[in-house]
Amino acid sequence: MEIKKIFILENKRWVLGSIFLAIVFLSPIIALFVNFFSSDKNTLIYLLETVLLDYSFNTIYLIFIVSIFSLFLGIIPAWYISNYKFFGRNFFDIALYLPLAIPSYIMGFTYIDILSYTGPIQSFFRSNASFLADYFNNDYLQIEVLGIILGFALYPYLYAASRISFSMIGSNYFNISKNLGLSKLQTFYKVILPLSRPAIFSGLFLVIMEVLNEYGAVKYFGVNTYTTGIFRSWFSLGDVGGAIQLACILLFVVMVLFILEKQSLKKSKFYYGKNVKIQQMISLKTISSAPIILVCSIPFLFGFLIPCVFIVFNVIQTYNEINFHKLFILVNNSVFVSSLSSIIIILIALFFLFVERISKNKINSQISNLISLGYAIPGAVIGLGLIILFSPFSLIGSFFILFFAYIIRFLAVAKSPIKSSLEKHPETFDDTGKNLGLSPLSLLKKIHLPINKFALISAFIVTFIDVMKELPITLILRPFNFDTLATKTYEFAVEEMIPLSSIYSLVIILIGSVMLLFLKKFINKQINVS
């Protein structure tokens, strides 16, 4: 009898590789915490006594306003579009995603320009209704205004989450509710909203994370939040210790929110699979659909159309001042960093998810969750962590560090579509592959790469758009003299030269919109959302 002594831990190399990579990607965060405990405690006391309360209040207040607006702007149109047929439904279904193409800082700069003394609104009233002009002559750089603007910029996260959830809740629930005597409104808030809670909570979590990460608009409005505080301590006051302590406090808040989100999903994980009979949509006549059209138009108008029209107007006004050579270089830079980093991020995301799948052990599943935390960590915190970690190696200001930061921040973004695609394929694919003689690498190449190619393309698009819009990381870690469309837009805006920044904003929006439209068509085909 032949006895072969090869009893080795299955897929050992893959598992060890993923643990090693996870440690590498978490090292900046670990470095921050190590510095937090070894830094001067007096700084923390000083922060507590002076700015911390102000930062905390502003951050929470801003999150509150943005959340309320995003919830209304995202959920209500998603409900109508998922359940009613009306004039313009297909248009709105795509158009309501478009604000995602506009970075929130561009939205902030643009609205302040629109509302300013020299902007079109005040100019119009001064010329045509001077008695009303004074009512519009206000200081709009207020936290409440910022909250509303960010609400318009970020509601698509909630729209997307609710839209998919509402579409996947089958007709059985509607029929049972009707049978139990519930009206449409009662069905909505007693059945549909609780069933969609995990999806809505995930969307809201993304909105909150975006608010915590927001730097450009918050700085422009002069609102002191944790993120602006980190920048202020670090760059204006030269107090790296203070910046680290603020970053760690912010990180703690983020971790609490992250755990809450995971817990909420775990507790209320609903399985729609058994109730997949699609709900029939209700056709509405033009007159009765007017209020719905209005409800769907508001987020699109204020979140996309008005800022876009204004930006286009500014571009036309400043056309002669546009340096096309510089613009070309900036587009080139943006596309270069966005596409290269997106490819790297997707490959790493695929690696982690694949190892999680083939190893089937809890460690890999925890690793996968832990590295997803990066999306919840503001860019400024990641930047600070990397600087602490890599300063001794003179690597700051290199593409390596910039991409490193993008990987930490956007790995979760790339993972999401790949993960849902992988989960759709049964484990027996892997077992069959093994049974037919495939090694893990061949399994990845011959089976998972081809059958998940659409998910990989989707992951590329969402990561590309996010990297292109990203501001704090790029501002802190970009190589010397290397500008992108995002950094240039910000530089012009803070110098109060918003019209000149418009061409850069417009290009970001154009590239983002085209990719979003492509992605939306793509997703609808893939998941067959009605």
Binding site: I3, I6, T428, T432, K434, N435, L436, L438, S442, P450
Partner: protein, 321 residues
């Protein structure tokens, strides 16, 4: 012996073993049905043989080679074990031909046409999995496994996803294919009919332990315990000579004369060829067959041969509860 499972133990949590101690032997070319309830560890057992799961104790030997034992583990791809999974996992990005030939060694290519003919898939080679019916997908999976000339074929609930109308035809067809290729096969199922109709031998598995391993006739007529008896069909309970005995419904005959076995009829189900009668005798539910309709609430007298009575230890029923 061709396949030998010896004292096999498998657990994910040592406190709750899925397979406690399993031993049996299979001769070359035999078709063995592995019968057990859902969730009893049948698929896990097949995965252990295929090398997709590692065992925690005992050994698996195939064709005089250890596949898995203490310090021995042959990789799944080196075992020559074909596995047809329950959900017919054909790769969606490959057509039928590409699926069958997937990762196939060149030496097996010459068998392609033979396998296609055998599985009646010749005219479907260009189709993608979503363009095939359940039965065609199943045959494709079997073709993909058989073309590699496996030393052992494992079928995991191969008929569970098929409509009742085509299930019987598929069962016969697969039996023919397996017997023609003389492939040693283990068929995992929870359906008694599958096991009874096509198996050379049946294994009944419960609570992580093999309950009985015998040919279908012996298993039906001489079940090792009350669990094996009940899993293969109805049993009627009767007190005789101060002991509890059991008897199969088909061994019970309605008689016109009065006897000491009187049954009060509850229901009479028409089953085509005959009626199945459900009734009560001495507070026990009884089933038997009748050529004619028997009216409900009427009393009928039955009798049976004493040699057909089956005896089990009185604790047997409680043990399996």
């Amino acid at each position: 012996m061709y396949l030998e499972i010896k004292n096999l133990v498998k657990h994910y949590d040592s406190k709750f073993p899925i397979i406690k101690d399993l031993s049996f032997k299979v001769k070359k070319g035999q078709l063995i049905s592995f019968l057990g309830e859902s969730g009893s560890g049948k698929t896990t057992f097949l995965k252990c043989i295929a090398g997709l799961e590692k065992i925690n104790g005992g050994s698996i030997t195939l064709n005089s080679k250890y596949l898995n034992a203490e310090n021995v583990f042959i990789k799944p791809q080196e075992r020559k074990v074909g596995f047809v999974f329950q959900d017919y996992p054909l790769f969606p990005h490959l057509n039928l031909e590409e699926n069958i030939l997937f990762n196939l060694e060149k030496k097996y290519l010459k068998k392609f046409n033979y396998i296609l003919k055998l599985t009646r898939l010749k005219y479907l080679v260009d189709r993608y999995p979503h363009e095939l019916s359940g039965g065609e997908q199943q045959r494709a999976c079997i073709a993909r496994a058989l073309i590699r000339e496996p030393e052992l074929l494992l079928l995991d609930e191969p008929f569970s996803n098929l409509d009742a109308t085509i299930k019987e035809a598929m069962r016969e067809e697969i039996y023919k294919i397996i017997k023609e290729t003389k492939t040693t096969t283990i068929l995992v199922t929870h359906d008694i009919k599958d096991a009874m109709n096509i198996s050379d031998k049946i294994i009944i598995f419960k609570a992580g332990v093999l309950q009985q391993y015998a040919d279908p006739v012996k298993m039906y007529c001489e079940p090792a315990n009350c669990y094996c008896a009940e899993i293969l069909g109805d049993m009627n309970k009767i007190f005789h000579n101060n002991e509890t005995y059991y008897i199969r419904p088909e061994k019970v005959k309605i008689i016109s004369k009065k006897s000491k076995y009187k049954v009060e009829v509850h229901k009479c189900f028409f089953q085509g060829k005959e009626y199945k009668v459900k009734g009560r005798m001495n507070n026990e539910i009884w089933h038997f067959f009748s050529k004619e309709y028997v009216r409900e609430k009427e009393d009928v007298y039955v009798d049976f041969g004493k040699k057909d009575l089956i005896y089990f230890d009185p604790v047997c029923k409680n043990f399996f509860k």
